[in-house]
Point group: C2
Chain length 204, copies 2
């Protein structure tokens, strides 16, 4: 059976646990799923691997990717570019993989233009109170930084209705179960089951 891949776009405000949720799903899906890899112009660091942590490219190549419309989103941080190229995602989908793409709300808009079948999940905190508690619990941000993060979070959650599904991350395991249910359901949609249907009908 020629199993088609699925692109799953995940967005969430900082502090909602999106990286943990995705890491847990990849673990559960046992080789069938992977995370899209970003591209950067910064130097590779000791211990990092090209094509694992990032694709490390020259500034010239990065700008070429932007020009070719291959960059789903990109940002400049310091003097380096960071971005999400579409072509490796396309390659992984062709191999039948479930590809997770963690992306900003802004970038999420773009993805549907290039990958119209992408499934977009937005992860929300149980409440702003809970989110604030988590951000404070990290102990890495100043009071002002936390206030800024919360205000960004609010602006992002207001745009959650651009997504297909909303998952609340209160208890990690439950949030992962919910995301897994979404992926399974998407695989059972009539549009994804045409091959199986034809197979049954043609062998009648």
């Amino acid at each position: 059976m020629n199993k088609k891949g699925k692109l799953i776009v995940i967005s969430a405000p900082s502090g909602c646990g999106k990286d943990t949720v995705v890491a847990e799903m990849i673990k559960r899906m046992d080789g069938r799923a992977c995370r899209s890899i970003s591209m950067t112009t910064r130097q590779i660091r000791p211990g990092e691997k090209d094509g694992v942590n990032y694709y490390y490219v020259s500034r010239e190549d990065f700008l070429k990717s932007i020009k070719n419309g291959d960059m789903l989103e990109y940002t400049v941080y310091g003097s380096n570019y960071y971005g999400t190229p579409a072509s490796p995602v396309r390659e992984m989908l062709r191999e039948g993989k479930v590809v997770f793409l963690i992306i900003e709300v802004e970038g999420g808009e773009n993805v549907k233009k290039i990958f119209p079948d992408a499934v977009k999940i937005f992860i929300i905190p149980p409440s702003f109170e809970a989110l604030e508690k988590r951000l404070r619990g990290r102990g890495t941000d100043s009071d002002d930084a936390i206030k800024a993060r919360l205000s960004i979070a609010r602006a992002e959650i207001v745009r959650a209705d651009e997504y297909d599904y909303i998952v609340e991350n209160d208890v990690l395991d439950k949030a992962v179960d919910d995301c897994m249910a979404i992926i399974r359901a998407e695989e059972l949609k009539i549009s994804s089951m045409q091959n199986k249907l034809s197979e049954v009908i043609n062998n009648a």
Copy 2:
């Protein structure tokens, strides 16, 4: 939280185990789900209960339901009418229940007109060979009856693309898991999560 009900329409050829799948889901959902109840003009039998096995009504009342457009589907068997009235379904949905409606492909078409939010699942056998084996295994049908059932099954499966989801019932537990994933995913759709979203945003 004001949890909305969900209407889940289930169709499948005879022998695909739709009743078992639905019974298993209702068990797993522990009071949150129920099956829609049919209406009939036949006499109530000892041991049966009105509103449990069927709604037992007069021929006059049955015809009134048809006339009022409340009957999702109906059929005449012998001298009695059997049908699926919409109003009890509407009532159960208002109570926030997940309502399973097992219905013929013909009737399924109608449901979406009256319940546009209904989710339609079509259950298929792993193959026609497997279906034939199951029908023979029952030991209740003659060879001709089995041939007739298989030919009806084929005509029904060809119309499976009128459904939202396709679930293969090879191993019962897996088919039930798949249907449960569909229901969970439907509950996480942005259209079902507006209340939760507003709750989080308004308490920011």
